[in-house]
Symmetry: C2
Subunit: 194 residues, 2 copies
């Protein structure tokens, strides 16, 4: 690839591929440059440090979930309770697929997430922000009752921890997990009733 | 100690002390016997294998929480919602104290818990059983609404995961965690309203 065609997005794609191949301990910026056929200096012109590159690729990985959920949050005409349930299920499905479909890459990103607390905070803020918009709209429409939609969103997010926090990934393969999710979602939706 | 005075309880106390001193990888049955001043054969007369001894000491450690909570469950005359909130807070406090007051022993038991799935299942069954009794009594008293108290108990237990699952122990030191607990408990209690 010529250096002129080198975009940040192309570098991040290659970085994810290198991480997949070599794992977080062994992957280097030189590997990324080699895969792209450019010098490592060209990579550093887009990402000034290896840490910055690792943070950016982690943010990109998390953003995929955010973008899919934002479509539900802002694009769906469903009533509040239905939208909230669908959003929580979509979050669970997104995390579960990431963990189950490509366990090695999931393990890799679990390592990267531990080094990128700022990126994770932004991700959690984006997700609870979306939840707040759903609850706020439901309160305005008389579908939900919540004194403080942001606080209610944080509580719903915390109460569904088992279904999105990577610490619980080993439990997501259990056959009962879907029923557990439904029972928790039912209870939370009852708690938001006017 | 003479072998005649050797009780299972005394062996378990000594085992906990040995685990505290040497950690789960290095602690041996010989260390336990030495601390008690008995032969290791005497220890094996009470616990037939090292694995059985480790399971028993883990069960004993978990039972302390169960016993404290059972007093609240069956001994308190408080109304259902108040009792449920106090029980969830007592569970959180118990786990938080175990993690915070003696982090090394907590880390040790986290290792033992990973080898003792049966013991952990019993512990979780005991705790959700207590929760079921609280919710069931509340339903009978017209304080709660739940089609299936056992299912509601499982949902409450799952939704408060962040406040009792050892996987979340690092988060229990955050200054906001009490407010998070209160927000989740409020929402769940609203969900159980008749």
């Amino acid at each position: 690839m010529s250096t002129e065609n080198l975009t940040s997005e192309r570098i991040l794609e290659a970085t994810e591929e290198v991480l997949r191949r070599y794992g977080p301990a062994k992957a280097t910026v030189v590997d990324v440059a080699r895969l792209l056929g450019v010098s490592h200096g060209s990579v550093y012109r887009h990402f000034r440090t290896k840490a910055a590159l690792r943070e950016a690729v982690t943010a990109r990985w998390l953003r995929r979930t955010e973008v899919a959920l934002a479509e539900l949050t802002d694009g769906s005409p469903a009533p509040g309770p239905e939208k909230l349930r669908a959003w929580l299920l979509a979050l669970f499905d997104s995390k579960r697929h990431k963990a189950g479909d490509d366990p090695e890459l999931f393990a890799t990103f679990s390592v990267l997430i531990d080094e990128s607390s700022g990126v994770v905070e932004d991700h959690l803020a984006e997700l609870t922000g979306q939840l707040t918009r759903i609850i706020d709209a439901g309160v305005r429409a008389g579908e939900f009752s919540a004194d403080d939609p942001a606080e209610a969103a944080a509580a719903v997010f915390a109460a569904t921890d088992r279904f999105h926090d990577p610490a619980h990934a080993p439990e997501w393969r259990r056959p009962t997990v879907e029923a557990e999710f439904t029972a928790v979602a039912d209870l939370l939706l009852r708690g938001l009733r006017p």
